[in-house]
């Protein structure tokens, strides 16, 4: 180790600059209200906050804790939504209007706007500050779409199989047969998680793929933790499977509601979708033990 010269460090707490705020667990897309609202508090002690008033109603939104991407209901314009910015919703002119679906990368620094009627994808990277957009035309609308962090790869599930696109517009097909039920890149990597009627798969490095079957059970949905340690999957029997990538162990959990889907909200926090969604159930893997927590249904007489 390089020996440093002896120096004095003074650490001064900027007392006047200490700040305390309330933690926001996540932002969620309120389809009915056509906007986003926060989950205020911590998992297990939280409530839905007020709808973010950004002056725009959206037809679809993809959220992260820091920002969200939405498509305006009025004109189909793509927006960058930053709740704590002065202009909470800033249009993304580089992205053509009319996108029908938005898919974010695991860290949120990249996204794909999918135009189902034109089989076109607008691939965005450098979010939220340095937005770069590439556009791709596909022969079909992908049934499933995944974006890797850093904007390196797109994974699209087309009728003839699973295809990978890179930034250089190269495209190749991964040798994976079957109808995909779920598709997601691992956080900060080029590894791709697949879920289909046969099981859960991990493809290491989509450029030089290495197939591995992780679970031999039909998978309906999947999501991965931000630190790439765990994968949460929903199987055909509506069971939640917590898969540890390190030791390949699986833990079964029975959700409190009949799940219809699964998505990652932030880090180790996942949302268990159900047809009723009242209350909203979360799966929190941040603690020593996985925990199901609900966010009380939103009612006008709540407070």
């Amino acid at each position: 180790m390089k020996r440093c010269a002896v120096f004095l460090l003074a650490l001064t707490a900027l007392l006047a600059q200490n700040s305390v705020e309330g933690p926001i667990t996540a932002w969620i897309w309120d389809r009915e209200a056509a906007g986003i609202r926060p989950i205020l508090g911590l998992p297990g002690a939280s409530v839905f906050g007020e709808l973010l008033d950004c002056g725009v109603r959206f037809t679809t939104v993809a959220t992260t804790r820091r920002f969200s991407l939405g498509v305006a209901a009025e004109d189909g314009q793509a927006y960058l939504i930053r709740p704590f910015a002065a202009a909470k919703a800033a249009p993304l002119a580089q992205i053509p209007p009319g996108a029908s679906r938005i898919v974010l990368s695991p860290s949120g620094d990249s996204a794909a706007f999918l135009y189902e009627d034109s089989h076109r994808i607008s691939w965005v990277s450098g979010l939220p500050e340095r937005v770069e957009v590439r556009h791709y035309n596909l022969e079909n609308t992908p049934s499933k779409l995944a974006v890797s962090d850093g904007g390196a790869f797109l994974a699209v599930s087309l009728p003839d199989g699973l295809h990978i696109l890179d930034r250089e517009s190269n495209r190749w097909k991964l040798g994976h047969e079957g109808v995909l039920a779920a598709l997601e890149f691992l956080h900060g990597s080029h590894d791709l998680l697949l879920g289909d009627e046969r099981g859960l798969w991990l493809i290491r490095n989509v450029r030089n793929p290495d197939h591995a079957m992780l679970l031999d059970t039909p998978i309906r949905a999947l999501a991965a933790a931000a630190d790439r340690s765990q994968v949460v999957a929903l199987d055909s029997e509506a069971r939640l499977l917590l898969f540890q990538l390190s030791d390949r162990t699986v833990r079964l959990m029975t959700p409190p509601v009949e799940p219809s889907g699964l998505s990652r909200l932030e880090g180790h926090l996942f949302r268990i979708h159900s047809l009723r969604d009242e209350p909203m159930w979360l799966l929190d893997l941040s603690g020593p033990e996985p925990r199901m927590a609900f966010v009380p249904a939103r009612k006008t007489d709540a407070l």
Partner: protein, 1038 residues
């Protein structure tokens, strides 16, 4: 036996020629035949020669008895008779030609006279063989008769060592003993034998000594052992051992000698052996008892006293009983003697020291002697009289003093003056007639012949004149034992008593010898009489007494009348005998509740409160302390009550019966009715049954009375409705329950045509009455008893009315349990409502929660999972678990300290509130706790560090943040630990209304500036502190 058979072989040469010259026939057997012996087989073949072949022999006169002659010339048989001189003689003829004349043969015959000597039978004459002894010379000579001597003897099976000479002598020496079966044979000169069997007995060598004498330790011992048989004997010990000090030897005469001086006492079993030089041996076990030496063990004797009985027993050890004791030297003290048993006894008469020798002799003449000296002394002189008998004035007195010890004669002297009238002699006698009463101290001295003296003092009491001292006699009771004794003083026994005048109470008597008045008085009253006492000197004393005999004191009340609950009870307990005032009490058991016993009057009174049978014991004490008790039992019956309070209606023309009911009192009951009863009905006065067929419609009011056997009565006024026939069928309306549907369809019997119903009175709120259908229906909303009258009329105009009381009961719900029963901070427990028993009806309910923070205010995060603070549920009838819908219900506790209250309200399906009062509630306490850090992130720039801490603090305050930075190895960092006061920052946050939506959660951002290379800081750990404690530290790396 060897038989000697004389053979006479006669060779007959038969000529083979047919026509030889015939020689003259002749006997060739000599005329003297061989000698025969009586009883011995004799055979001689007579021979002839010449003549023609075919000799035939025949005896012409008698042969010797026992012999016969065959035609062939064989003379044989066993002679029976001896004849020697002269011998037997008999003629025998022999004829040739077989005795038959024939052409070729002309018989010849010739005779010869033979002589035959028959000697007596050879016989051994010894009847037996002499007995011999082992290892001793034996000789026995045999003898025989008959036959012809000389004889030659032999024997077989003789004992080894013995032999038989040919001359007939058995001799020799054998070492064997026993019985031998010997066969003796004798042979005469003609080689004839005779044998005889004998038993030869040879006695063994035997020790004849059967016992040896005993010995004495230390005394020379000598005993001889003898034996029979054998020679050159030697003695030895074959078994056991001789007594120590003794030895065994053989004398010159062959006897055994045990000799020596024994050194040890005991019994010694020794087996002795005597051996003969020839090897014969004999043994015998003979014990020798060695006794200890006879020795006197008494070493000293007790001294004796003149005139005192003396006994001394002498003892000795050893020796052979019997022991005999004697005095062999010196003299015993006069008055003492020694028995042969060794007992020295008697009464010494002369003092002195006496030396004498005692000798003991045992049965074996052992003796031992010892000298003793017996000291005989004179006993101390002592006055033995313990006290002087009291005297009495005017009564002759005599008292003899006595003494022991010393040497008589005694001489007495009075050392003090005697009471006046008394004198004292030298013989020790106090005598005279006292003339003065008093207590006199006197002393006396006695002296003996040996000049010993002894003195003693006494108090001589002289009493006054003879009087009766008993002042009065006590009171007695009739039928009670009485015992009083008349006492006297001054008299001399014996004293006699008598009733001089008057009479004792009947039943009592006076003992003339003891003065005791005893018996059982049979009559009460006062009895006066005079007692006279007379002493041995005929002195008289008289006194008049009165004995009062009282009657027996007892409680005469032995039974109590029956009482009735609620009715005043009053009984006075009575006594007989005794003296007032009396004191009453209950000493056992308890009175019925409500009753008391007056302690002065004995009145038992009060108002009984409880029925039952009560047993107790009363006690009364009179003024004289006499006590009487009486167990009593009182029966308290329940109040007589006529229970029947209503009569079912009757129908005119239909048989009716109703039995009145009564309780309490004392059955049997008697019934009666007053007032107007429906015609056709009558009352059974004993059974209380009202029955019959009413003939007239109407409402009849009358009074029914019941009376018990104690004439207690109860009555009640009743109404009996007699209807026309149209009768409302329902006797009673079913009970309704608040909140539950209720429906009753009224019906009537005896109907003609359509019915019209009507109702008077108020139905419970929620119920309605349909006059067309007679249906009461609805859902009552309030509980209570609602009196109504329902009337009905049919097409014929007949009507009936009936009064009812519609009872509406509150809906009783089982206990309700609201869960959870306790909560944890930031928990989301499931909520349940459970009935402890199945719900009586389908119920709906609301569960409402409220929250009060510890520091006041609210926490909007505290909600149900369904959103808000109100949740509805249902619970089907018969179920115990409330349902909050398919999703269930959970409670978000959040993270602020305070109290959550859950309250339930319940309604029936009809919407009637049936919430119990108070409403079921659950209170959940969220405790104060230290802060909890849920996440920490650390960001580093060139010279700044930012630490972001996410967590919650249930107290809604945080005081400090303790920050510990971790430096890279090798770096020199100062001030890595900081305690940052954050009270203000948190206070600002928690006071902001926006913070309420977050519960107590927060994101704390701590910026730090770094002087120097911030990269030297690699990590940070944060601990938050609030008023309830410190958080668990959380760390992060930059």
């Amino acid at each position: 036996m060897r038989l000697r058979v004389a053979w006479l072989v006669l060779f007959y040469l038969c000529s083979q020629s047919s026509r030889a010259q015939v020689s003259p026939l002749n006997f060739i057997t000599p005329a003297t035949l061989p000698e025969a012996m009586v009883s011995s087989t004799y055979t001689v073949q007579l021979q002839a020669s010449g003549g023609q072949p075919g000799y035939v022999f025949a005896a012409e006169d008698a042969l010797p008895p026992g012999l016969s002659l065959s035609p062939a010339g064989l003379l044989s048989g066993r002679p029976l008779q001896a004849r020697e001189d002269p011998p037997f003689s008999f003629t025998v003829r022999v004829t040739d030609c077989n005795g038959v004349a024939a052409t070729a043969c002309r018989p010849q015959s010739v005779t010869r006279r033979f002589t035959l000597v028959v000697v007596p039978a050879l016989t051994i004459t010894n009847p037996s063989l002499a007995e011999g002894a082992a290892c001793q010379n034996y000789s026995q000579t045999m003898s025989a008769t008959g036959g012809r001597s000389p004889y030659r003897w032999s024997a077989s099976n003789l004992p080894p060592g013995l032999s038989m000479s040919s001359a007939g002598t058995i001799s020799g020496m054998t070492a064997q003993s026993g019985q031998f079966n010997v066969r003796i044979q004798v042979e005469d000169s003609r080689e004839r034998f005779a044998t005889r069997d004998y038993v030869l007995t040879i006695q063994p060598l035997r020790i004849t000594t059967t016992s040896l004498p005993g010995g004495v330790v230390g005394v020379a011992y000598n005993a001889t052992l003898t034996s029979t048989g054998g020679s050159r004997l030697s003695w030895s010990v074959a078994g056991g051992s001789l007594p120590p000090g003794l030895g065994l030897s053989t004398t010159a005469t062959g006897a055994g000698l045990v000799s020596g001086t024994p050194t040890t006492a005991g019994t010694f079993n020794t087996t002795y052996r005597v051996s003969d030089a020839a090897g014969c041996q004999a043994t015998a076990s003979l014990p020798i008892v060695i006794q200890q030496r006879l020795q006197i063990t008494t070493s000293s004797i007790n001294p004796a006293q003149v005139g005192a009985s003396y006994t001394q027993t002498f003892t000795a050890t050893g020796g052979t009983p019997p022991l005999a004791w004697s005095v062999t030297a010196g003299n015993l003290p006069p008055g003492l003697s020694l028995s042969t048993a060794g007992v020295l006894s008697g009464v010494p008469t002369t003092a002195g020291n006496y030396t004498f020798t005692i000798t003991v002799r045992d049965g074996r003449e052992q003796v031992d002697s010892r000298s003793f000296t017996l000291s005989v002394s004179v006993a101390s002189l002592e006055i033995t009289t313990e006290s002087l008998a009291p005297g009495a004035v005017g009564r002759p007195y005599q008292q003899n003093l006595s003494a022991t010890g010393g040497v008589t004669p005694y001489r007495w002297v009075a050392l003090t003056a005697l009471p006046p009238g008394l004198s004292f002699g030298a013989d020790g006698v106090i005598s005279g007639t006292p003339t003065q009463a008093g207590s006199f101290s006197v002393s006396f001295r006695v002296s003996d012949a040996s000049n010993q003296t002894a003195t003693r003092s006494y108090v001589l009491l002289v009493t006054g004149a003879f009087t009766i001292t008993t002042p009065a006699l006590s009171t007695g009771l009739v039928n009670a034992n009485y015992n009083q004794t008349i006492s006297t003083t001054g008299g001399r026994s014996p004293i006699t008593f008598q009733v001089l005048s008057g009479s004792l109470p009947p039943g009592l008597s006076l003992s003339p010898t003891t003065g005791a008045i005893t018996g059982v008085a049979t009559q009460a009253g006062e009895f006066t009489f005079t007692i006279r006492a007379v002493d041995a000197d005929q002195q008289m004393a008289e006194r008049t007494f009165t004995i009062t005999i009282q009657g027996q004191f007892r409680i005469t009340t032995d039974a109590l009348p029956t009482g009735e609950v609620g009715t005043t009870y009053n009984v006075t307990l009575a006594v007989t005998g005794g003296r007032s005032p009396f004191s009453w009490s209950v000493v056992e058991g308890a009175l019925p509740s409500g009753l008391g016993l007056n302690p002065t009057t004995g009145v038992l009174s009060g108002v009984p409160g409880t029925a039952g049978r009560f047993t107790f014991t009363v006690q009364v004490v009179d003024a004289g302390g006499q006590t009487a008790r009486q167990p009593l039992t009182v029966l308290i019956v329940a109040r007589l009550t006529l229970e029947t309070d209503a009569l079912p209606r009757a129908v005119a023309g239909a048989f009716y019966t109703q039995t009145f009911q009564a309780t309490g009192g004392e059955p049997p009951y008697r019934w009666s009715i007053s007032g107007e009863t429906p015609p056709g009905l009558s009352l059974d006065l004993t059974s209380g049954v009202l029955s019959g067929t009413p003939s007239r419609v109407g409402s009849y009011r009358f009074t029914v009375q019941v009376q018990d056997r104690a004439n207690r009565s109860a009555s009640r006024s009743l109404v009996l409705d007699v209807s026309s026939g149209l009768t409302i069928s329902l006797e009673n309306l079913p009970v309704a329950t608040v909140g539950l549907d209720y429906r009753v369809s009224l019906t009537a019997s005896g109907v003609t045509g359509a019915l019209t119903w009507s109702i008077s009175g108020s139905l419970p709120d929620g119920l309605t009455f349909n006059s067309a259908t007679g249906v009461i229906s609805g859902t009552p909303r309030a509980s209570g008893a609602f009196p109504i009258t329902i009337s009905v009329r049919d097409a014929s105009g007949a009507s009936d009315s009936r009064s009812f009381s519609l009872q509406v009961n509150p809906l009783v719900l089982p206990a309700i349990v609201i869960s959870p029963e306790n909560v944890e901070l930031a928990g989301q427990p499931a909520v349940s409502i459970t009935f402890r028993a199945p719900a009586p009806a389908t119920l709906t309910g609301t569960l409402t929660l409220s929250f009060t923070a510890e520091g006041g205010g609210d926490n909007p995060q505290v909600q149900f999972s369904s959103g808000g603070r109100t949740a509805t549920f249902t619970i089907p009838a018969g179920q115990t678990q409330a349902s909050f819908g398919a999703s269930g219900l959970s409670l978000q506790v959040s993270n602020v300290a305070g109290v959550i209250t859950l309250t339930t309200r319940l309604s029936t399906a009809a919407g009637v509130d049936v919430t119990p009062s108070p409403a079921p509630t659950r209170t959940l306490q969220i405790p104060r706790s230290a802060p909890v850090i849920t996440a920490i992130t650390a960001r580093r720039s060139a010279n700044a560090l930012t630490v972001e801490v996410v967590g919650y603090s249930s107290t809604r305050e945080v005081a400090t943040a303790e920050v510990q930075f971790t430096a890279a190895p090798g770096s020199n960092v100062q001030g890595t630990s900081l305690t940052v006061p954050v009270t203000t920052a948190f206070s600002t946050w928690y006071q902001d209304s926006r913070s309420r939506e977050f519960g107590s959660a927060f994101t704390l951002t701590l910026p730090f500036t770094v002087s120097g290379d911030a990269s030297a800081i690699t990590g940070v750990s944060v601990t938050l502190v609030n008023g309830a404690g410190r958080s668990t530290p959380r760390s992060a790396n930059f």
